[in-house]
Symmetry: C2
Subunit: 306 residues, 2 copies
Amino acid sequence: MNKNNFSIGIIGGTGIMGKFFESVFLRYGIKTFVWSRKSEESLESFCTTKNIDIIIVSVSIDVTEKIIAEIGTYISDNQCICDVTSVKIGPMNAMQKIGKPYFGMHPMFAPPLSGKMDGQNVIFCSGKNSQKQEAFIKNIFEKDNSHILESTAQEHDEIMSIVQGLSHFFDITFVQTLRARGLNLEKIFASRSPAYALKLMLSGRTLYQDSELYGNIQIQNSQNIKTLETFFTEAQKLFTTIKNKDLNSFNQIFNAQTKFLGKYAKRSQDESDIIIDYLANRILSKKGVENNNYKFDARDMLLKVS
Amino acid sequence: MNKNNFSIGIIGGTGIMGKFFESVFLRYGIKTFVWSRKSEESLESFCTTKNIDIIIVSVSIDVTEKIIAEIGTYISDNQCICDVTSVKIGPMNAMQKIGKPYFGMHPMFAPPLSGKMDGQNVIFCSGKNSQKQEAFIKNIFEKDNSHILESTAQEHDEIMSIVQGLSHFFDITFVQTLRARGLNLEKIFASRSPAYALKLMLSGRTLYQDSELYGNIQIQNSQNIKTLETFFTEAQKLFTTIKNKDLNSFNQIFNAQTKFLGKYAKRSQDESDIIIDYLANRILSKKGVENNNYKFDARDMLLKVS
């Protein structure tokens, strides 16, 4: 293999991530083909008749392994497969089984409005016999100002079981609890300080997403069960100190985590101060505008009381 | 009582909230006295010899009721007590027992750097025979551009068991889980998308606070146990759908919460988009500065990869 330019095929290319990647590749003048379930052409014909070098699988997490296995029966030894799902152990194993060149990616973002990858993270998991194809894709992403991170599939899924799994789990159960307690939503939103406003906002944001995608992110990451079991164990420890009104033990647990966070505790304070200041300044600037008979809507109102 | 101006005494006036309120009252030319454990004067003498009209109790949550009971043995029928703690049922009951004028407040903020209350929330709980004193304090706070909310003690504590109790509980147990899982903190922070960056930031922020204060916020709010028990029940329901790989039941739970949030789901998305854009723009503007040999520190680096 001695090519400077690889042609790319996107399976699931009419989904929102597939479309986004197509637009990025086209912007860099790369020959790009797209296939979806609605295509008249068969998947076999798509994979075998177009001289596609890199086949990107951009389908729903729960059918990724099935599609990889199917593609594997068609492709030649020179064709490279990669996937873009939010889990890596399953798809990487499925690609490895095929015995052709492969690697994995996880773009840590929804398609940005700008259409560019500016400042966004993409995690790469190295596969086999795919150094050149991987380097080719990374080079495009870096030209588009994205930030490349490397990980093993195991480590990726463990980390995602925290930053996606546990974090979405909290967002959903936060609102479940609020609802089961029968509390007044309007009053809760009105009682927000800027820090709580941010938390409520992030829970609401999660619940505005696609439940199928978020369900699959929970169900398909094999590391989530262990993380959630660990969470329940740790949560019970903290809950016991609260139930027993045991301030000393509470302090011990709390301070052990602060120590564990180390420099990140102060950094978090500094960074969130900037965001909270920004929220507060938005409130003040709105006030300035109101003085000139600005008719603020419910959303401004919400920010005003936050 | 026919006064336009009341004199104010702050018990715990050398603590950070006590000092802040003193500075606000002094800015409006109000006669203000301060007492703390370090004062040479006795608490009895402080309460009885200065013609103080409103005594504000601004001490640690766990000693608030004790101090209220003590003050109650000294004060006259015209003197009004109020507290500024993060819980309301206990202190309101304690003040009611005394039989003198009283009301409750909860400032929903740490002292702002500006020294002004601009845009911050204060919750008031009406007490007894204290309409004029309450109106006097509210008037000062509103002049300082704070936002006044009214609540009963019961409703206040229920709502705070969510926006403080449950929300701090998540922040702490999030880091407990991360630590117990033995995952690499550096990698977790590096793998952040802007939305996860915000979540990690808020957890880190909570753990940078005073563990005694946060422990008392958990332990002293009688509504926290019920809220946390409700949370464990709801969390187990969601966990079961994940363990059973039951996407349908997951979708049902998820979508029921989205429906419950109603307009707040889209609002949360819109509001957090603004914040995330701001984070992203900060990243881009830093990049611009770097081109002129700007030497960015670890903190900028952290924002860059977020």
